[in-house]
Symmetry: C2
């Protein structure tokens, strides 16, 4: 049922080549649902009031995977979707999302995904989202993900969000609110090239006592691309937050980082580090002495940095 | 001619107790010039169009000191002053500024100093500015310094700017533009207590090839005070910038840091680090085992941090 282009996109964004019969699954293609199935523990339901799905993970679910890939292979698609995740108390779940656009046409194809996570007490969520664009058309490939995360007492969430390549414009908005003893880890990876533009806002309120946040953002800007990062961490209670943004600059790319950290409680510990610069020349020379060309050496370093 | 209050203020802000006959000197008190003298190398001239002075340091001047303290001992003074510094090519000079307010009255006393530095080629400037407030009145003590720094090729400037204590409200604005091979070091130290408010904006354009910037900002927020830091470093050429902001939080104080770093050139290296948190408890316990009370131990750590 899926053609080769679609299978390749799925492989790029989700590491799968088709439906996953064993686990909860929802495939959205070119703006509408193609295939959906639930499991006894994970129910996926289409929303009745707007485009998108509700995903319910039963309390104390163990070791389930949920796949919710989105692919766009037509030119001129403008897709807006709302996905809500309700993760029951004590559930352990892995969610694999992602969006791939193959645009061979002249019109812009765009996907705006608005994801909201309601993470119950002591629940444990690992979320992976890959964004990828390809195709030879002049039409733009635009992905604007919005992610809201509400974390109850003692919950844990790890959000691995990456934009591999080929996305012409992205405006990424992430907001999280942490309850008591909640811990959030955000790993963001971003590569831009050509004349691409990427803007990433991440805003976290550490409201709960003993809550913890770790953000590691790594990016590479090539050619004439432009990146802007704006992470905000607010310690509103006894808590710990560490925000780290490292960027590699190549060609004529421009990268800015405008973090904001605030300690609004005497027992809040908030740390931010950011570094922007080109590839370490010692590393480049070392790899070239092993016989790699300059381009190959750069590729190895960039791959390692974003792995 | 100076009374004891005035002498003590001078001591606090400039480490002197009166006029300095050997060096160029300008004392401003309660909104008007009190005493001024130049040297063969350093000419201080009153502005004709607005309040303030022009300070001319002759090219290739060596080892001169310039003292330009400001004191306010009356309640209800609102003083705005423009000081322009013209540092000749290859000159080496040390400038000691500072402003002390002793306010025993009920009305607000305010000093807004707008300082502009034109630093010639290969010139070397060390600038020290201390801000201090005291007095038992309910009148506010407000200091709003604006500092502009234009640096020509190969020049060096070190700006040591501190707000020791007693300043109820401050809005600090610093802007610098660096030419080829210019190097700027900014050391900022800030202590707030009571219900004080401090806002510090520092904006630097590294325009020149091989220019360098180092900002080290250290602050302590006590009681119910609020501090906001907003440093901006823009690498517009091959350059290096390092911005470091460390803050200690005590009582109910609130501190935010909103740095902005941008690399607009592939050979720009820009690094930012910020940490906000309370005093390290290991250090506190160690000092207490030496017989210090908790308050004494805190004072020792705060003094060491801001020294």
């Amino acid at each position: 049922m899926l053609d080769n282009t679609e299978k390749q996109l799925l492989q790029q964004i989700a590491g799968i080549s088709g439906f996953q019969p064993g686990s909860a699954f929802n495939l959205r293609a070119n703006g509408s649902g193609v295939e959906r199935h639930s499991t006894p523990q994970v129910t996926i339901r289409q929303k009745s009031d707007k485009p998108g799905i509700d995903i319910f993970v039963a309390p104390h679910t163990e070791g389930e995977q949920v796949h919710i890939p989105v692919i766009i292979t037509e030119s001129g698609v403008n897709d807006l979707v709302y996905n809500d995740f309700y993760i029951g108390e004590g559930a352990q779940v892995e969610i694999i999302a992602g969006c791939g656009i193959h645009n061979d046409g002249c019109d812009t194809s765009q996907h705006d995904g608005i994801h909201t996570f309601h993470i119950g007490k002591q629940a444990h969520v690992v979320y992976t989202e890959k964004h990828y664009g390809e195709g030879n058309g002049e039409g733009g490939r635009i992905l604007n993900p919005t992610t809201n995360i509400y974390m109850e007492e003692g919950s844990y969430a790890q959000m691995d969000m990456s934009q591999i390549k080929g996305v012409d414009s992205t405006k990424r908005i992430t907001y999280a609110k942490l309850g008591k003893d909640a811990k959030l880890v955000i790993n963001e990876k971003l590569l831009t090239h050509g004349r691409q533009f990427a803007h990433s806002d991440v805003e976290v309120d550490l409201d709960g006592e003993n809550s913890a946040l770790q953000i590691v953002s790594r990016s590479v800007g090539k050619d004439d691309s432009v990146q802007v990062f704006h992470p905000i961490a607010r310690g509103n209670n006894a808590c710990r937050a560490h925000v780290q943004c490292d960027s590699i600059l190549m060609g004529n790319a421009k990268i800015s980082s405008i973090p904001e950290i605030a300690a609004n409680h005497v027992d809040a510990q908030v740390v931010h580090e950011a570094a922007i610069g080109k590839i370490n020349s010692d590393q480049l020379i070392k790899l070239q002495t092993f016989g790699l060309s300059e381009e190959e050496a750069e590729a190895v370093i960039v791959d390692g940095f974003l792995r």
